[in-house]
Symmetry: C3
Subunit: 341 residues, 3 copies
């Protein structure tokens, strides 16, 4: 019997709860320092305790997972803590397409896949002297957080860059890249593509809750100017949304193009959950900043299903449960190899 | 057997899912360009393909709907795309009171019904020279979106009006009307009034997610001032809320007054779903800007029921399902004529 | 048979719905002016009509509740409308530890318990001349609302204090206390501690929706400066959130420390629901401003369970239902005395 395993972080609770609800044995590769948290949950059957998640590459983990016929569900922490080479070297079967995770991590490959998908992406700005209007400076490799700032002209940019250099957050211009700031409201579009059925499912949408930028609006304008703060973008949570129904045609179209482009660029393609992350502008046009080629944390909102999954399934269907359902369906047709790498 | 039909837009998915859950045959009057989206959903039994929703007035549509004993569920798109005369000319039975939809479209009738309901409405401002303090200029006929702006004095108003004239969005003062800006936080109060039981049900509350105004708070004050942007109010989605329980007495009172006023002004009254849309000020007093005399898109959040519908019903009760339940109840008592026009 | 009673306000609907779902008889101590609202709900079995909630101390109420073997579920209204001595004098058994409610009301005791729990709290600022950077002035005894303002230096403070004195909201400096403003995003962490099992459950998280401060971000910076408004913090509702999973270890740790500190300082400790209320800063560190030592209104979002309660329970578990479940469990073991005071 296949069992389902994941790293103890990010969306592990949702993923293993979904797996348990689908009848699977559940295994958590768990850092010792977080064991106490995860022991609280009855739906986690077995713990593989590690000092570092990198031990998932080692023989001990590989053996335990193999004995359990485990499939690993990849999520954000795998990508954050291990290099693409390390991930690709993992011997245990990984749900989805582990080769596409590299395309999420590498900024150039990421942009290539978004362009191939004909997604509208933010316009790059070559350098500070080209800044004309609202521009965002992003720090290479920053998983959101410090080092992002807005600027409206070169002088403004220099002032803020110098402040971040003084604070030791960056070394200089080389640590930053510039994009036209996409005015609008953010949305994280959650999808599931089934290699078994060939169908794309739109599963839900969320917004990120970021500190301290999402607290900025509660500080009156004059006070903001007086204290001269540069806000950060550290994700601390997510909140739920639904989209205007007239936008759904395009939501599906973008998802389909992404799936097709992924098939062309990185076989076997975009198997399982993914997310297009961006902003709707004042004309309700979507600009994609990023994608995640695996389950995103915003799905944690929808443990009991979302307003979208409830249109497709007659039981509460979280993304974690959907993944387990796919594995169950593949198992029953002896097609597991179609959905793991 | 009665079947349930609606236009393919706005809240069609929720409405037909609810109808299917209540055992009805479901029919979608669907624009050909959106067929692909709606074909994804298994709960839609039959498609009536059209080039334009106006074809619902034509014999072909009328025949198909008649053969199916269909009742049309009206929503925002019907009102947006057809004039009141056109809607009133539709031969197929429409759930609710189709005569009240005119009162939603016409600004004077809308205000008359809100005043008759003794709802607190925003204070009108006669002209730019009367601006004293935070004022909002709204564009006639704009379904939110471009052409709305805030001004604090006449000079500020003139500057922004001229900018919109230059951009071709308006022609001049005649396209705008002014209201005192109601400071506070927005809330969309969703109700269902049953003509069969004589009872009002408070069904849920949501907030709109509007671009790019809801992204404004994430732009630091100094940058806002530097780029001199005039935000737009284009609805791209909705997010969930609950209200402080001490506000519910007044929520119900406002809803009851609206239902009573509708009975007096436009027989047979406010049958079915409606929404009071406005703002809670710093003293938790509600100012109503608008109402919708039919189901609103914010109900799409609550496909599985809301924290309010769950207090009334023992199964997941969306607004779409509630409508279908009402039709089912009416059918069983041979009282369909009470709830359709 | 035990029955469950509460005051008609705050979260009464959720609490009695949960009690009804657990099979209890439900009793509402209801102000006559709010009877109409609460009569709408079928799950409230009996009404004890009063002119004031203080009548809960009187013999008439005490007798009716005693005849019904009622346990009172305390919530925010009890604390807002009755002094600690009055609450402690109530003869009817109160769910949880009524002695801890005093620690929520009294600012010094509140701070003592937060410090004992080793929670990070805002830094106090001695007086206006010590203001260096973003500071918040809070009005003693204000349940949010008027009289809170931000200041960045002494002059700014004086200007705003004088404005509030002119408006009759405060008398002078003596009505205010100052704290370093905690930049970040707010979160209300909802917990349930079971005296029966010795286990802490993290039940959900929400954000407050406050007027008019949460509408501030929709007013462009220049307009904010022009009209010179001082926003208010009047809670009108709540909205849902989930937290980043990597924060959960610390969420539980804070909750455990609070439970342990409560056991030491105010026997029998923190029985039942409580809430830690604060802000996540840009480094995702939590500063606790307040706690509630009983159920909070944000739980009204989760009548059908939250993304967290759904990880623990296989049925929809609101906080109100969890309380009723605890009473039911205690009843079955004859241990009611462990969870009431």
């Amino acid at each position: 019997m296949t069992s389902i395993a994941t790293l103890g972080s990010h969306c592990a609770l949702q993923v293993l709860k979904g797996a348990k609800d689908e009848g699977f044995k559940t295994i958590l590769v768990c850092e010792k320092k977080r064991e106490k948290l995860y022991r609280r949950f009855k739906f986690i059957d077995e713990f593989v305790l590690v000092d570092s998640f990198k031990e998932i590459m080692d023989q001990r983990c590989a053996n335990i997972l193999k004995e359990n016929n485990a499939v690993i569900i990849p999520h954000g922490t795998l990508i954050a803590q291990m290099s693409s080479e390390e991930i690709e070297s993992i011997k245990t079967p990984i749900f989805g397409n582990k080769w596409i995770l590299r395309w999420e991590s590498d900024r150039n490959m990421k942009e290539k896949l978004m362009v191939e998908s004909k997604l509208k992406i933010p316009r790059s700005i070559r350098g500070p002297s080209d800044i004309q209007g609202l521009t965002i400076a992003k720090r290479h490799g920053a998983a959101g957080g410090k080092g992002y700032f807005l600027a409206t002209n070169e002088e403004d940019y220099i002032k803020k860059r110098d402040k971040l250099v003084r604070e030791g957050i960056i070394k200089g211009d080389q640590d930053l890249y510039l994009q036209e700031y996409a005015l609008g409201v953010s949305a994280y579009l959650q999808y599931f593509y089934s290699e078994l059925s060939g169908e794309l499912e739109f599963f839900g949408v969320d917004r990120r809750y970021e500190s301290d930028i999402d607290g900025l609006g509660r500080i009156p304008a004059q006070e903001q100017i007086d204290v001269d703060l540069i806000p950060s973008f550290n994700v601390v949570g997510n909140s739920p949304l639904v989209l205007r129904e007239s936008l759904l045609e395009d939501v599906y179209a973008m998802g389909e193009r992404f799936v097709e482009a992924a098939k062309r660029l990185v076989a076997p393609g975009m198997t399982g959950p993914f997310c297009l992350e961006g902003v709707y502008d004042e004309n309700a046009k979507f600009t994609t900043f990023e994608f995640s080629a695996r389950i995103v944390a915003g799905t944690n909102l929808y443990v009991d299903g979302s307003p979208y999954s409830s249109l497709i399934y007659d039981e509460p269907m979280s993304m974690g449960r959907r993944i387990a359902r796919e594995i169950k369906n593949a198992d029953s047709k002896n097609s597991l190899s179609k959905i793991v790498t």
